[in-house]
């Protein structure tokens, strides 16, 4: 059982016009086995929250804390956070020329576990996860994300989540740009990992469609750098019907 606790998180970025505050006091607690959906308008700071937890150097934490099972996450380097059990499936996964998927996955697994995986079982695990995500085995020999379609990149993110077995996974718009079939495949992947490892999930999305496959325990409305409202799955239905206008005029 793991818990990620975000307390009063304030984050800014440097822009040519000066420092810009994007997160303005985020409070959020995610336990193992729970799915938290975060929904909010474009530019409200959802990706900023995801990147800040993962440790992207672009973002400056000005105040607040993030802990995983009591450990100070903000003190950790990017790779230490991953080793501690935080995983970020990115909205725009990065291409890494010259590095094959299979080499990348093995190196990451070795880094996270602190030892190389047993070759026999590892190869089998990779194969079966790829098959489950309907990824052709030829992807293993391709360079990381290079020339992948949008949907293929997202499947590759979930493949990594399945193989690296994090405690807390942040999925930043993993559903965006997927057709219905791909959405189902990816959602099933997330559910499979959750059943197997009891991972806690922070699911950032614009659409309730994915919530038909992955049932959230909590829904948070994210507006202007903070959580404006939270509730159960019914809140998502209401957002779908009413949009964010209610929150925006208030802000």
């Amino acid at each position: 059982m793991s818990t990620l606790v975000i307390t009063d998180l304030h984050v800014s970025v440097e822009t040519p016009e000066g420092t810009k505050e994007i997160l303005r006091g985020v409070d959020l607690t995610i336990d193992s086995g729970h799915v938290h959906a975060i929904m909010g308008p474009n530019g409200s700071g959802k990706s900023t929250l995801a990147y800040s937890i993962a440790g992207h150097p672009k973002y400056t934490i000005t105040s607040g804390t993030v802990t995983l099972d009591g450990e100070d996450v903000l003190e950790m380097s990017v790779d230490e956070r991953a080793k501690a059990g935080i995983f970020l499936a990115m909205q725009y996964p990065v291409e890494v020329p010259g590095v094959s998927v299979s080499n990348f996955l093995r190196t990451a697994k070795t880094a996270i576990d602190g030892e190389a995986p047993k070759l026999r079982t590892w190869v089998k695990d990779v194969k079966s996860s790829m098959a489950d995500l309907r990824m052709d085995s030829s992807f293993a020999e391709r360079n990381v994300n290079e020339g992948f379609s949008g949907g293929e990149k997202k499947r590759h993110e979930i493949l990594q989540m399945e193989l690296l077995q994090p405690k807390i996974a942040i999925l930043d718009e993993t559903d965006s740009g997927l057709d219905v079939d791909a959405l189902r495949i990816v959602s099933e992947g997330v559910n499979r990992v959750k059943d197997k490892t009891n991972v806690g999930v922070l699911l950032i999305t614009h659409y309730t469609r994915i919530l038909n496959y992955i049932t959230p325990d909590f829904v948070h409305v994210f507006v202007d750098g903070r959580v404006a409202e939270q509730g159960g799955p019914e809140l998502a239905e209401r957002l779908e019907a009413e949009g964010y206008d209610r929150y925006l005029t208030k802000a």
């Binding site: 993962a54 440790g55 992207h56 150097p57 380097s77 990017v78 790779d79 956070r81 991953a82 080793k83 995983f87 970020l88 990115m90 996964p93 990065v94 291409e95 890494v96 020329p97 010259g98 590095v99 094959s100 080499n103 990348f104 190196t107 990451a108 880094a111 996270i112 360079n143 990381v144 990594q160 690296l164």
Partner: protein, 400 residues
Amino acid sequence: MTTTDLTTDHSRATADEAHSHGLASTPPNSSRADRDKSFDLDVFPVPSGREEQWRFSAVRDLAPLFVDQPVEGSLAWSIDALPAGVRLTEVSVADARERSVSAPGDRASAIAAAHSGGARALTVAPGSVIEKPITITMHGDGSEARGHLLVEIGANAEVSVVIERTGSATYSEFISVDVGQNAGLNLVLLQTWEDDAVHSGEVHAKLSRDARLRGSVVTLGGKVVRLNTTASLSGVGSSVDLFGLYFADSGQHQEHQLFVDHMVPNCRSRVTYKGALAGASARTVWIGDVLIRKEAEGTDTYELNRNLVLTDGARADSVPNLEIETGLIDGAGHASATGRFDEEQMFYLRSRGISESEARKLVVRGFFADLIQEIGVPEVEKGLMNAIELELDMVEADDE
């Protein structure tokens, strides 16, 4: 990357420091073949750095190599006992001129020939098939040195020659390579100099009918290394593969110029050079000229240069150039791309638990892996990955 005929892929040349452009390296109405070749120094004035073939060069550091004076020092050669069919002999300056496949193409190599005190000739008798690579180590003790080397491979012979440069020197050389009919030569030139070496070399290889040359250049050390390689495909059916691997860190200037001259029909050439750069003032230059003459029908050629910029401030120039004088060819293409290993790639890998240094190694290993396999001398291939990892460890030490 798959880039087809006659295109230059600059898609990855995004960062300011990562420089890549498709300027023709010869003015449009003068052919690369028109450049002077001579043993006469007066033909080559001292370069100012504005000349076409010197404009990317570290001319100031190379200046001692333009001085028309004898030098005291020399490189110390070590070489294992030679197998039957192979001889190493001293050749007078006059004879060396006669036996060279071409006259020098610039001032530095003309001076190297003039002040070498005579050439050394590595001669492989016709029909000899030598299994074990012949390895020559040339070690500099920090002094000035000039060299003239003749590599002469008799008809139907088959051999690998590895030349490694170590230590330090201010060194210029002219290497003439004569590959006889249906002979095969694998020539590997390793520049593993110490940090302060300055080296200018010209290699001119001539291929006779059905000859095969595999030439690999590996440049890791030295302050300034400038290698100018010419392959003259003068025999029908001959074939050349030129590979290059270079890694420049702060303060290093590495320049590789190539000229593949398709003179006769039905020859094949491949040029594949890859370089990594790390450190603020790391600098590399690649100029790849290919000429397909009117007579060279049925030519099949492709040249590629890729550069990987690992840190800010490094600069890679890449200038491919293709001159085609006949339409009756099998294929001709080139590609040049300079990419950055950037913060986003680093973040992506590290967010999967991979440490910064491991991430860098992963990318660089992947970048060079296929190229290293092409060298074709297992002893060299093995040592090379280690040498590159050492380079990367040095980059990290600099970071701290």
